[in-house]
């Protein structure tokens, strides 16, 4: 029976000392704020489209920090998933189709003759990229539009189009050679407009 008491005393002693020190440390070394959320937020595309099921990117960042899966952001697509996986040391997983699919980036254009100036799109735009006043024609500031298409639905006359970003010699770049190789039977099948 002596062993019994010894055991209890010794283990309790250890535990009490450790508990006390941890209790002390938890106050003395308290750290506020959670930098990881900001780090995650930095990697999200900031399209603020809500496709992830959260009202904006920051809330999703918070959710990821709390353990939500990292594959819920269609605008970010594979690239963002990979960046997040790297940051959090998780495995990169394919995009969750339930949240949408990765599409090319678009920009909103308002067909201004059809715009009735209802200002609904202005209220909808999360980044204030639409200009205009009540009963006046509205325009989208193309460089500020994130392409979230949140302004589409509220428009009562459907006068907003999402148009892919224009390719210019400045932003054009080569693709990976894979396409060339995939069609190995005919190597010359790559885009070839006819000539005179």
């Amino acid at each position: 029976m002596q062993t019994f008491y010894f055991a209890i005393v010794i283990l309790a002693l250890l535990a009490i000392v450790f508990g006390a020190i941890l209790g002390f440390a938890s106050i003395r070394f308290k750290v506020v704020g959670d930098p990881i959320v900001d780090q995650i937020d930095k990697l999200l595309p900031q399209t603020q489209c809500g496709q992830c099921g959260h009202p904006g990117c920051k809330p999703y960042a918070q959710a990821i920090a709390n353990g939500e899966a990292i594959n819920h952001c269609p605008p970010g697509g594979e690239a963002t998933i990979k960046a997040l996986a790297d940051l959090l040391d998780l495995e990169a997983i394919p995009l969750d189709a339930e949240h949408g699919s990765e599409a090319i980036r678009t920009i909103a254009y308002i067909r201004e003759d059809e715009c009735i100036g209802c200002t609904k799109c202005i209220q909808a735009c999360p980044v204030d990229a639409i200009l205009g006043a009540a009963k006046q024609m509205h325009t989208v500031i193309i460089d500020e539009c994130t392409g979230c298409d949140l302004c589409l639905d509220p428009c009562p006359v459907d006068c907003i189009d999402m148009i892919p970003i224009e390719v210019t010699p400045v932003n054009w770049h080569w693709q990976q050679p894979e396409q060339l190789i995939a069609t190995s039977s005919s190597p010359y099948s790559h885009g070839a407009p006819d000539h005179a």
Partner: protein
């Protein structure tokens, strides 16, 4: 005719991967010839069997992976793997041993990683090392050189592991075993006391010289750069020389290390495997020296007679890290030291 849209350069040298592989295959021939001269037809039979298996497995896996078969089969890499396995296995290994080795090297070590170019480990060495630990008995079966069999006998042995009218003593200490348990004698002393062993020593010397010749041919054909093999030989030679100087009775000399076992085969045909080695020239130096040192350590203190398979696998697994830290200084970049001075 429609005009194509292609990226520059529009010109190309005539170099091809398959050309490199063919060179390697050809360069093994002197070694193969000498090895067969001393040990009989075993290696040759093994080589044919291994080549057959390697191509077969490669085709099967490519089929399973839904890849075009012919372009990959003809790149020659599977044959190189098969050759090296066959050359490294003991001449008296039975059919199933080769099968296991080739199976694991082609399927596990090569294609599970994506095939040629993707494998981090040297396929031939994975197959070899795996057999070494799985079948240590069969893998140490080197007969004495006097025990060469006729082709028929060898053929029979290969399939049935028994031989009519053959010899009684199969396993014989190889020079490498002797190097480890000489009880204080130098190799030459051992050789002079036992003429058969002496013959073994001579055989291994000639075999190594033949592989050296093959290696020099490859070097001349610019199949690889000198860095890795020279570094390996230097690393091994240096360690051996150092210990030999300290205790000549316990440790054989550098030249004995360099001319026994699979030293030259590994230096010129295996350490040089581009895929699984370090990639930059600096990295190849580190890689080679590492292999050399490990070979010496395992040969001298470890429990395996020849160490090159393990040494190479160990360095294979270090290669990515080596690559991370041996980037050459690019054009126009300051050397590290002066850069930090510049910051001050």
């Amino acid at each position: 005719m429609a005009l194509v849209n292609l990226s520059s350069p529009h010109h190309h040298s005539l170099n091809k991967t398959s050309r490199l592989m063919v060179w390697v295959l050809l360069a093994t021939l002197p070694g193969l010839a000498v090895q067969s001269y001393f040990y009989g037809y075993g290696t040759l039979i093994n080589l044919l069997w291994a080549s057959f298996l390697a191509l077969g497995f490669e085709a099967i896996v490519l089929g399973l992976r839904r890849r075009p078969i012919m372009p990959y089969l003809t790149d020659g890499s599977a044959l190189v793997t098969a050759f090296l396995i066959a050359l490294a296995l003991p001449p008296f290994s039975p059919w199933w041993l080769t099968l296991v080795a080739v199976l694991f090297s082609i399927i596990f070590a090569k294609h599970l990683y994506g095939g040629l170019g993707n494998n981090p480990f040297n396929p031939a060495m994975v197959g070899y090392a795996l057999c070494l630990i799985a079948f240590p008995v069969s893998m140490t079966q080197w007969a004495g050189t006097e025990a060469t069999l006729t082709f028929g006998q060898q053929w029979q042995w290969f399939w049935l592991e028994s031989v009519t009218g053959g010899i009684d003593s199969w396993t014989r200490a190889t020079p490498l075993d002797l190097m480890r348990r000489t009880n204080g004698l130098t190799l030459t002393e051992v050789a002079s006391s036992n003429p058969q062993l002496g013959l073994g020593l001579v055989a291994s010397m000639w075999i190594n010289l033949a592989y050296l010749l093959g290696g020099l041919i490859l070097l001349a054909a610019r199949v690889f750069t000198w860095h890795a093999p020279v570094a390996m030989l230097a690393g091994l030679g240096f360690c051996a020389g150092l210990f030999h100087m300290g205790e000549p009775d316990l440790y054989p000399s550098a030249s004995q290390h360099l001319l026994t076992g699979a030293t030259m085969l590994s230096a010129f045909f295996i350490v040089t495997d581009p895929v699984s080695g370090a990639t930059s020239r600096k990295g190849k130096l580190v890689f080679g020296v590492g292999v050399g040192i490990l070979v010496f350590i395992i040969r001298s203190f470890g429990s395996y007679p020849d160490a090159f398979a393990f040494a190479i696998l160990l360095m294979n697994l270090s290669a990515p890290l080596i690559d991370t830290y041996t980037q050459p200084k690019a054009y126009g970049h300051q050397p590290k030291k002066s850069r930090s001075q510049g910051e001050e």
